[in-house]
């Protein structure tokens, strides 16, 4: 790890946090502690402040952060500290679950590198922040996904993808468009799609540049279940 740190100090200035995510399957009424390591990879001493925020997801998939005044489920120690160049600090995160926990509990630990005092005359001072999400997944829950509906609006085709399970979902999505007349097929891999529990997001694909003809659009979602699911929409352009 020291060699890695040396390489990072050569190529970069800033700070780093590991790991990038906490995800634990846990029963209700439990308390677990995880350690996050913050390392200063810049040539100056930095000041770090740590806090927790909740987040939600809108129907476009955008993450919306919400500040929380007091979250008794998360205890962070320490909440702020200085780090000399090359130094690292263990930050302990203790997460508690309520006795009755039917759904997943999630949030994000935010590490903020505050601007140094000598920047006080700059017009824009930057606070650099790294977020580490945590997910407390109820034992015995499994992923569930559905493609509810598809429609065409404003020269795009929309699929509504729903996470119907009680835990968050990371799925691989593939979009395939077939021109029925010309037997031409184009395929596009979307990579990873993230959906919070009991949330739905719209995935949209432009069709305004297509030539006239009959088309079949297929969205395949592989969410790690027994089989992948597929949404199909036929349309005439």
């Amino acid at each position: 790890m020291n060699t890695l740190l040396l390489i990072l100090m050569l190529i970069s200035q800033g700070f780093m946090v590991q790991p990038d995510r906490i995800e634990v399957e846990v029963a209700g009424g439990k308390r677990i502690t995880r350690k996050l390591v913050v390392t200063n990879i810049s040539s100056d001493t930095i000041f770090i402040r740590v806090h927790v925020e909740k987040f939600d997801q809108d129907s476009s998939g955008k993450i919306i952060f919400k500040k929380v005044a007091d979250d008794s489920t998360v205890v962070i120690n320490p909440l702020e500290f200085n780090l000399a160049p090359g130094d690292n600090k263990d930050v302990r995160i203790t997460l508690s679950t309520p006795y009755d926990m039917p759904n997943e509990i999630w949030g994000m630990i935010i590490f903020s590198q505050l601007p140094p005092p000598e920047e006080k005359f700059a017009t824009i001072r930057f606070v650099r922040e790294i977020g580490v999400p945590y997910y407390l997944v109820p034992l015995g829950t499994f992923t569930q996904c559905d493609i509810d509906t598809s429609f065409i609006r404003h020269d795009s085709i929309f699929f509504l993808v729903s996470n119907t399970g009680l835990r968050h979902l990371r799925a691989k999505a593939t979009y395939k468009l077939e021109n029925v007349d010309k037997k031409e097929v184009s395929e596009r891999t979307l990579g990873s799609v993230f959906i919070l529990p009991e949330h739905s997001i719209y995935l949209s694909f432009p069709i305004d540049t297509l030539k006239n003809g009959k088309y079949v659009a297929r969205l395949k979602i592989d969410y790690g279940g027994a089989f992948a699911i597929e949404g199909v929409k036929s349309f005439v352009k």
Partner: protein, 177 residues
Amino acid sequence: MMIKKLSLPLFILFCFSKSWAISIIILRIDSNVTFDLGSAANFPPSVLPAYYYPTQASGANPEGIRITTTVFNFFGQTVSNVYLDIKGGNDPSPSVSLSQINWTIDPATLPPAGTPIPPPPWHPLTNTWNNVAYFAPNGIVTTRRYSMDFCFKLEGDDDPTPPQGITTTVYIRFYGL
């Protein structure tokens, strides 16, 4: 002897299992940004609103800053996509609002003087989070570098800047899900 024969494959299996995954997330911003209009070209302007690039910024990007994001994933990917978001803080002064500072990561020219609202790809700073970019980490090391430009919109009712200057804080957040 059997233990020795088994140990290497077991070690390799252990290294590549999720339980051994090491993931690191890194954010670097190389500079702050200053608009000292007294030293800017075309000041004072003949037409308002007038637009100015920073007078002091990154050595790698004179119009703003360089943001470097890196995700290390050893022995198994942990997060899916990673996101880079931006949010402004306070208004720089009672007469200068946050939205007079605009940003872009796409190639753009300075809006001509007299343009009431900077056209896309310029975005005004707001005090809510806006996504700048996102990507899916791929392989052991994924690095993305962004040149983020800033421009200041000078309006007719802006009070003269006090000698100590005016300051705002901009939050740049990098996270995975």
